[in-house]
Amino acid sequence: MQKLKINNTILVAAIVLLPLFSVCQNSFVKEISNFNTGIPADPSASKILSFLFKNTIYFLDPNKYDKKDLVINAYDIIANKKRESIFIENNKLNRSLLNVRIFSFAITDTKVIALTDSYIFILKIEKNKATVVNSIKNEKAAYSKIRPLNENEFLLYVYYNFHPLDAPVRHVWAKLNIEKQTIENRTIQDDKNAIYTHLVNDWLSTYKGLIAHSNTIDYQIYFYNDKFEKIDSINSDKLETNKAHLNSIPDNISSKDEIMEVIQKDDSLLKRIQKIFLVDSTTLLVMLKVPKSRNAEFDLWQKKSGAWVLKKTESINTFYQDKQAYNSSNNKINPFYGSMYGTPTGSSNMFYIIYTPFMEDITTDSFNLNKDYNQKINDMVRDNKVFYGIKKIKIIP
């Protein structure tokens, strides 16, 4: 499938800008802990594939499609230790999975679900070995994300500005019933923000059967139940200023020239929603990109007496500031961008951020990018010591 994918959006987000953000002590987003899983991460991977299930975060190396065995590493976030890995051996049954790139995956007590370009593979786990037992043809616009809805159902999602010849639709939801191994409730959704799918985005978040999905140009966030019925919404006029710029931005792009134009205008003109995080069923964190700035703006919404209320707004630096002093008291750096994966923990106002490479807090009197940051990471790469890190985050309303 030919995609007009701008890998820069991933790369820039994942490493280049390394858009971490520092949280000052009175911030409503507080880092509780930052620990090294000891699970090796591929330094050349531009994406993290992870999944939280029953207090264990599973990691899958996205570059592992080289005909070798596939390993799903596991880390228990309550006991703070590695668990036994799940192996997908290179045998006749698994070979079709091992030869292709995995977009996203999910885990249950007995199964692994892996989304690839052509097929959705279902694997059965037995004694820490997973074997392909079924494969369902993926759509032409291949579902690229899978999120848990309830015990037996997962949300399948794709939203991308496909070339019209590659895929007739651009934004589709469906449910995967893991017991019946069928795809149900296929629903075509509004795709008016499709051109911004070339840029870093995560406009979908789920929490125990509740689905939140946001627009990006307009401040509109809709909530759905697990039958995809709209049940609630958040609307704000906070992004009204975008309207003045929309005439100069193409609303349908198909060439690389046009994509570059959108990227440049987006960088310089637009403030819009980049990611949302359902921390629990009544707490939503909204991350907005700000024009001409590395800062991100965060809004904290809480549902009180049946209505969503904007509790707090904060502008936060997305990276260490040059010549700034850092120590353990102000060094709460959270990778909220590309290479992170935010996931609710089930306990109120807490969630985890998974990132790579793991890095200890920086202590310096005057921050220097190369000395205090790049050289440390370069040493990790040269010494083969690139690991996944996990940060536990608490929202303080």
Binding site: L11, K256, M260
Partner: protein
Amino acid sequence: MGLKRLKSFLKFSLLLSLSFLKLNAQIEVNFDSTIKVIYDYDLKKTVLTEKNSKDHIIFISNTNCTGCVKYFMKSKEKFTFIFLLSSESLLEVNKITKMYALKSNTVYFTTSEFIRKNIKELCQSPTPCLFYRCIDSFYFLNYNELSRVTLEFSLNTRKLIKQIDCLK
């Protein structure tokens, strides 16, 4: 005699079309002061010379345009590639190397900051572009011109090379 006339006519036509290209697309640059110190795969500094570059036809890219990089990478004509890094980061080098399965010894890296400082007047925000030598000068095609000249990265690169060579 007829063949000679045809050759002259073709040469005249090409020069005419390239003079158009030159008028609209070429910007002469001082190459030595623009890109000289670059990094290898291990971020060790090296200097771009005639020996380690291919005819000084150099494609520079961040990863804003995967299609553009692949266009030059798949070409039978050999280009020297310089990839832009946002900082001196081996992680970035690793990711770019993996993304494009780079093996060539004519692949180098430099920082966006370096490019911004040195060719700021050419491209405000670093985008894929091409440097090439023509007679004794270096010329530069920015992304828009490069996109136009290569017909949105679909023109056979041999034809592109011929156009550039023709000016020598």
